[in-house]
Amino acid sequence: MANTDKNSYTVIFATVMVIVVGSLLAFTAASLKPNIKENERMEKQQNILYAMGINENEEGSINFISEDKVAEVFSTGVTEQIVLEYKDGAIVKEMSRDEFMKANSIEPYLIDVKKQQTRAKEGKSRFLPLFKGMQDNKIVYVAPIRGVGLWDAIWGYVALDKDMVVRGAYFDHKGETPGLGANIKQRYFMDDFYGEKLLTDAGVFKGITVAKGNNDPTNEIKDDYEVDALTGATITGDGVSAMIKKDLKLYLPYFQNLKNKS
């Protein structure tokens, strides 16, 4: 038996361990990557469709369009994908899906919001994807948002009509506390957003606040710019308010344009 206290043995053991574990992890990551990518792609399609109101919901539960149908439904449900290039408070360029894919060879719905936020911080322009679809014979626009909750990242998709009134929302999180912050993923929380306005009557962006001690717990008043908070999840709720205010505000010039045109 080798003397396991010797320094040379320790060094050799550590080296072997690093190589074995490293290659094992790299091998799993590499060989499973296509499957994982495919799953993530389907999830994004399901989320976007969910925000538009296309889902297989039963009472109280959340059911996405099933995996075998999602690609087909996505191609018909999302009528148009556009990408806006945003810099210093203004939209400098509007691209169709084909134009964007020619330049970046990636589908607009696969744009990584986090990467774009980092780009914006570095002072570069960022891409804002927007997905158009139909709901009750009206066009809705779905925008992705992303922020930070109590423990880690939270994100979501919000469907808006041309006046920036919410027509559906989907939120998800990486690791919020189960039973507390994780409840942003519950149907009763997401459904509260339906019908809430983002703009004041004068057209100023106000956003939606997840408010504690709200006078309207069943959320019948739709023009108070508030939804009822979740018990024991103050910081997650603040994160949701913040990402709505910050990320959806970027789309304001686009919707103003839309209004001026019509």
């Binding site: 990551a29 408070g89 990467k115 002072g123 930070v148 910081i235 603040d238």
Partner: protein, 240 residues
């Protein structure tokens, strides 16, 4: 100013023990005596002060999406963030093992009283939590990361000091026999946690009406721009 704010925030408002309930195991088990509690508390400050900045460097130059760009343009698309857990924990474990060797050498009595809990600093969730919060809250510079590590360590230290002092006094009270020791400690910690919840109000209470409705959109936009520019300037500074 930024440093001072982060310091107070991490010590009191985001206190590791009472706000996020991290690092509970060693907190409950090694708080019988003030002297041992101080020993462990100092060890935690030390380990946090080293691992948070170290992991900040790892995160900036290795793990983040696009972090490898210092290697050359062709590496810009690599995203190694799935390795963050294992890298962070490896750094922490290495540092803890170093601390263990040092303490064993220079203070055998402290080493003996810390017992199994010295190696357990490695899985003290407060330590990994520190690094993960540093990552998810996007701490902007190495200096701030160091500050964050030290101040969350101090927050943890204060918490364990407080409970150890209470436990030394509570020996003179007549606690029901079955609650003596661990049971009453759990309940006291729970009550302290409820007290600390009020600090959370400090964090959110003020900014509810941050933007008065009277301001016009243009003004707000200008202010936002100014803030963005400040942030850009800050980031470019750190990059350089």
């Amino acid at each position: 100013m930024e440093h001072l704010e982060l310091f107070f925030k991490s010590v009191f408002i985001d206190n590791m023990v009472f706000a996020t309930f991290l690092g509970m195991c060693s907190y409950l088990a090694v708080s019988k005596k003030v002297t041992t509690a101080v020993g462990l508390g100092v060890a935690v400050i030390f380990v946090l002060a080293i691992t948070v900045p170290l992991n900040w460097l790892l995160d900036q130059y290795l793990l983040q999406p696009g972090a490898l760009k210092w290697l050359g343009k062709e590496y810009i698309d690599y995203d190694l963030s799935f390795l963050s857990f294992i890298m962070f924990i490896a750094t922490i474990a290495t540092m803890v093992q170093l601390v263990e060797i040092i303490v064993e050498k220079f203070s055998p009595s402290l080493y003996n009283s810390l017992g199994i809990f010295l190696p357990l600093i490695a899985v003290n969730c407060a330590i990994l939590g520190g690094s993960l919060f540093m990552q998810s809250r996007e701490i902007a510079s190495l200096g701030l990361a160091f500050n964050y590590g030290i101040s969350s360590g101090i927050g943890w230290f204060l918490a364990i000091l407080a409970i150890a002092a209470i436990r030394e006094k509570i020996r003179y009270s007549s606690v029901p026999p079955a609650l003596r020791g661990l049971g009453i400690t759990f309940i006291i910690t729970g009550l302290m946690g409820i007290g600390f919840l009020s600090f959370g109000g400090m964090l959110t209470g003020g900014d509810e009406e941050e933007k008065p409705a009277t301001k016009t959109e243009a003004v707000i936009k200008k202010e936002d721009l100014k803030e963005d520019k400040k942030e850009i300037a800050k980031n470019t500074k750190t990059i350089q």
